[in-house]
Subunit: 229 residues, 2 copies
């Protein structure tokens, strides 16, 4: 399994969570601030709205990540219980399911029989097999939910403060927007580059895509806010 | 595979995307508006900021969903190519991998040999087998990326407009916040209920969790914006 395994390790849960949090963190508060820059006349409203958005997004995404992790765990446990039940009470049906899985890959009836019989010798391994090959489920890390919440939340927070910081150090929304746009474009490009690296995508193309999403979102928010405001 | 299969059908890609978009859509714009209600004195700024946020979030999440779908597809195709290559050029190593997978489930060496030999008769099925059983990958739906982008974006848009609509029909941020909080709590509860139903979680508990996240995010945004503003 050598090189495949390594690649899976590289894009770990932690990195996935950082990417989830930072993608949205760099994009949405930046675009919101850009939108407000077209509609209001002082930086303090932009900063207030930006921070409110970052806090809201950070909690929504963090707690959302926590719940998703918990749900994944509960789902795994309930399916596990069900498989144990089935293996215990309707073993013939479960053996037929094993055979069906292998029939789909062109394994002969004789081969299917050998496999089903051998698997049924050890109920723990049999259930493990059904979990993975029938349902495609692997046991989630028990700390995943909590770690996920913290990582996504913090990544969103940091990602969101970067574009907003431009409004702290400038006096007008116009200047804030210019500094924020230049700085955030740079951040989006660097982030997109590393994101693509860890997910084994072409890095320059990936960086350009991430940057484009951020700029399109900001331009749309700017245009709409100008219309509404 | 009966009831498992049915459950997988129920929580389809479409529903997953609606849930992703609407969870954030109902929560973040609601919390942003609540936060601004504590810091500004008229509804028009809240509406402008809210709409800018919805547009930004909708594009960021929609395009984000599109890219994630495309990446999943590219990843599948590149791994598929690699497996074909391995099956072609290092078949002994791949056969050993098949044996190793089954050794892990307590299958005898004889059983492993039968399987590895039979699988290697048909390269297409062999590769399909390695994709699923070694790498845990299934072929993504080719329209998934585009559908995902549209569904997530639209769900976010609708989810975001619901809490914001309260500020259209009220005159002050205080009244807007009260109406928005009551209405959004109701929406969050109903959404959480159906979300739990389709993901086979206990519906009332699930509804309470989703509602709590929204209210905590809004309360935090309200408090922070009051401090900053």
């Amino acid at each position: 399994m050598g090189h495949h395994q390594e690649e899976h390790l590289k894009s770990s849960d932690f990195i996935t969570d950082v990417v989830i949090g930072m993608s949205d963190g760099l994009t949405v508060p930046f675009a919101l601030a850009a939108g407000l820059s077209s509609a209001v006349s002082n930086n303090s409203i932009i900063i207030t709205a930006g921070i409110a958005e970052i806090v809201a997004g950070c909690i929504a995404m963090g707690l959302g990540g926590y719940l998703a992790g918990k749900t994944e765990q509960e789902h795994y446990q309930s399916e596990l219980k069900r498989e144990y039940n089935e293996v215990e009470h309707i073993p013939e049906k479960e053996m037929q399911e094993v055979k069906d899985i292998f029939a789909g890959y062109g394994i002969s009836e004789q081969g299917q029989d050998v496999l089903a019989k051998e698997l049924s010798q050890d109920k723990t391994k049999w259930v493990e097999f059904m979990m993975k090959f029938e349902l495609g489920l692997e046991e989630p890390n028990p700390n995943r939910a909590r770690n996920s919440a913290l990582t996504i939340g913090i990544a969103y927070f940091i990602g969101g403060l970067l574009p907003l910081s431009a409004y702290f150090f400038t006096k007008t929304p116009e200047n804030g927007l210019i500094v924020s746009a230049i700085f955030t474009t740079l951040c989006l490009f660097i982030f997109g580059y590393f994101k693509s690296k860890v997910t084994a995508q072409p890095p320059i193309m990936g960086a350009l895509k991430v940057t484009m999403i951020g700029l399109i979102a900001a331009a749309a928010a700017f245009g709409i806010a100008k219309l509404v405001g």
